[in-house]
């Protein structure tokens, strides 16, 4: 009896060793999960572009622990249901590191799966605080939180001394979360919130909302959500001669808002991560994007690049491919990346991340305000 147990143990041990050997010969798979299609696919373009560049450069420099990184790209359409499906697909593919997802409402359910399956996830774009509030070990981000971005927007509006402010959101995790943060900041500053209201994402008719905004006679309108809806609201507001100033989070700040809103996008205020592509030390990397004919100026290109880089450096720092060891290494280490020095707190949030207020122009360019 004893010997047979021993034999079994040896057999299992041998096969585990074999499996490990098999894995050592393989490449390291990195899942990239974000929207390739759907209404916010342009953010997905930024994410895929940044992550691919990082994988290319890391492989060109000899890979991670002598192995190449291989991207496994999946499309979640920014739909929570689809996010769960693709997360399971990544699990089946044997992926142990994921860069994604993009929309907070997708990241949240997908991260449950990754945490259960022992997969390390770094989201380059999801700013909802709840994602890292659940005590998960394997969830990180390379972007700030709504609880940082909201106050930046709120304080900016408050500093302009408005009498009344309207706040509109799209009822989704990201939009409503940030709208709530802005409302709280403004209320603390003693500014009257004339309306706080949700719309339905995907709607096209905002004439009633615009009429209401006009009736409320506000100085500022803050919108929490993405650009397809805000673009239409801006356009319809301009047609009805609403003279309030509009402001939104980084989810509205991309050039597609110009194709929808046209001239009405002029003067829109947007809180964005600082333009990492303008930084002196990143110019070599920016030139690499230019050489590929890709635009590195989007808010999530370099955060995605950084996410891949952190996975690679985390593996090397931990000297282990076990996601838990890598997570430990990320929490203790300090990493030099294109978005600055990254240090993580226990929750998996960056210790510091800055948002800047920009003014958007009708030709798709932006200028910093403060």
């Amino acid at each position: 009896m004893k010997t047979s147990v021993k034999k079994l143990a040896t057999a299992v041990g041998a096969s585990v060793a074999l499996m490990a050997a098999g894995q050592a010969a393989a490449e390291i798979k990195v899942g990239i999960a974000g929207p390739m299609t759907g209404p916010v696919a342009q953010y997905g373009d930024m994410q895929f572009s940044g992550a691919r560049m990082a994988i290319e450069q890391i492989n060109a420099a000899g890979g991670v622990m002598g192995e190449d990184l291989v991207a496994v790209e999946v499309d979640d359409v920014c739909d929570p249901k689809q996010a769960v499906t693709v997360a399971n697909r990544l699990v089946n593919e044997g992926v142990r590191y994921v860069v994604g997802h993009l929309c907070s409402s997708s990241t949240q359910p997908a991260s449950d799966i990754y945490e259960d399956e022992g997969i390390l996830m770094i989201t380059p774009a999801s700013t909802s605080p709840e994602i890292t509030e659940r005590g998960y070990e394997l969830v990180f981000r390379t972007i700030g939180l709504d609880s940082m971005q909201g106050p930046v927007a709120g304080n900016y509006i408050a500093s302009q001394g408005p009498e009344r402010v309207a706040i509109v959101h799209d009822k989704q995790q990201y939009g409503e979360g940030i709208a709530t943060a802005v409302r709280d900041t403004l209320q603390d500053a003693g500014i009257e919130i004339a309306m706080f209201e949700g719309i339905t994402a995907g709607d096209k008719d905002f004439s009633s909302l615009v009429t209401k905004i006009k009736q409320a006679d506000v100085d500022y309108v803050y919108y929490g959500g993405y650009h397809p809806e805000l673009g239409l609201i801006l356009r319809q507001a301009r047609q009805s001669d609403v003279d309030a100033k509009f402001m939104g989070p980084e989810g509205v700040g991309n050039k597609d808002i110009n194709t929808i809103a046209g001239e009405a996008a002029e003067g829109l205020l947007v809180t964005l991560p600082p333009s990492f592509d303008q930084k002196e030390e990143n110019q070599e990397l920016i030139a690499a994007f230019d050489a590929k004919g890709e635009d590195p100026s989007g808010p999530f290109v370099l955060t995605s690049y950084t996410a891949v880089q952190l996975i690679a450096e985390g593996i090397e720092a931990a000297d282990s491919k076990d996601p838990f060891d890598v997570a430990q290494a990320l929490r203790t280490g300090s990493f030099e990346t294109p978005i600055g020095t990254v240090q993580y707190d226990k929750a998996g949030d960056m210790k510091s991340f800055e948002f800047v207020v920009y003014e958007w122009h009708s030709d798709g360019s932006k200028t910093p305000v403060n």
Partner: protein, 307 residues
């Protein structure tokens, strides 16, 4: 005074959106009236109408043609032709082969067609929102600038007038023309009409074509009014128009008009006085209430069991 202007402004918003619901609802209600099936691909036909109009407008702009009436007419004609052929083709491909089978079969075929068309446009045009040029800008203002200026934009007026013209033309067509008479006969009794020498296949095709043409008109108007199109927007609009058709009494053309207007006004009043979040709650509660107390809809006739 200010509150009154606000009320009228919301009423105008509601009537504008309601009249386009009505235009789309006609397609549902006519098809239901004649063959008793719900054409779930109708919303997609409307979406394709909007895309065609956009392509036509962009094409004309690249040719340097900017004379507004010409642009509108060309866009309208292109949209109507493409959508009508689409409506006709959908009927030929997806419904005619399964006509007369169990009721669920054409319904499922319709849903399949709807998914197919949505994804076709996805592939052909991309999934992004595409901006639609605002061809008709400006409007009338009432009330003083410092209180609440009520405004009616020219595009809203265009939508009212076009809807009115389309509806009148359709009513005349149904009540006066040969095909219209045949339509009414087929809707009363398809088998009997067939026996009496009416080419029912042709009439059914005509119904699909008329419905699709009106949806194309709505597509062009709403594209200009809202300012963007995406491959999924036919689905939501289709759902609303279907609700309008059921509300007014499915199978009844005046019912579709009434249903559309009621739905539009209910939506804008809810967003105006309650909150946009309750918009759909109120419109669908309204639908449930009407179906509870008047199952045939507002203007629908009780269905006589056909043997």
């Amino acid at each position: 005074m200010q509150d009154l202007l606000y009320f009228f402004q919301q009423l105008i918003n509601g009537l504008t959106i309601g009249s386009t619901y009505a235009l789309i609802a006609i397609g549902y209600t006519m098809v239901y009236g004649i063959i008793g099936m719900i054409n779930f691909a109708h919303g997609e036909v409307y979406m394709i109408g909007a895309y065609t109009a956009l392509i036509a407008i962009t094409g004309l702009a690249t040719l340097g043609i900017a004379w507004l009436p010409l642009v509108l007419i060309v866009a309208l004609i292109c949209a109507v032709i493409v959508s009508s052929s689409m409506g006709w083709a959908v009927e030929r491909v997806a419904y005619r082969p399964v006509r007369g089978r169990h009721r669920l079969i054409p319904l499922i075929s319709a849903i399949g067609m709807s998914i197919f068309l949505q994804n076709y446009v996805h592939l052909a045009q991309g999934s992004r929102n595409i901006g639609f040029p605002a061809l008709i800008e400006g409007g009338f203002q009432f009330g003083s600038e410092d209180t609440f200026p009520m405004s009616i934009s020219y595009i809203q007026i265009t939508i009212f007038i076009t809807t009115l013209i389309c509806m009148t033309a359709l009513s005349l067509f149904i009540s006066r023309s040969r095909i219209g008479r045949a339509c009414r006969a087929v809707s009363q009794d398809l088998g009997m009409a067939n026996l009496l020498g009416i080419d029912t296949n042709r009439i059914i095709s005509a119904t699909f074509v008329i419905g699709a043409a009106l949806a194309a008109v709505a597509g062009l108007l709403l594209g200009m009014y809202y300012g963007s199109v995406d491959p999924l927007f036919g689905f939501i609009a289709g759902l609303k128009a279907f609700t309008a058709a059921v509300l007014g009494g499915i199978g009844s053309i005046p019912g579709a008009m009434l249903g559309g207007l009621i739905l539009g006004v209910a939506e804008s009043m809810t967003s105006g006085y309650l909150s946009g979040e309750y918009k759909d709650v109120v419109s669908f509660s309204l639908l449930i209430l009407i179906l509870l107390f008047k199952p045939t809809g507002l203007l629908g006739k009780p269905e006589v069991e056909k043997i």
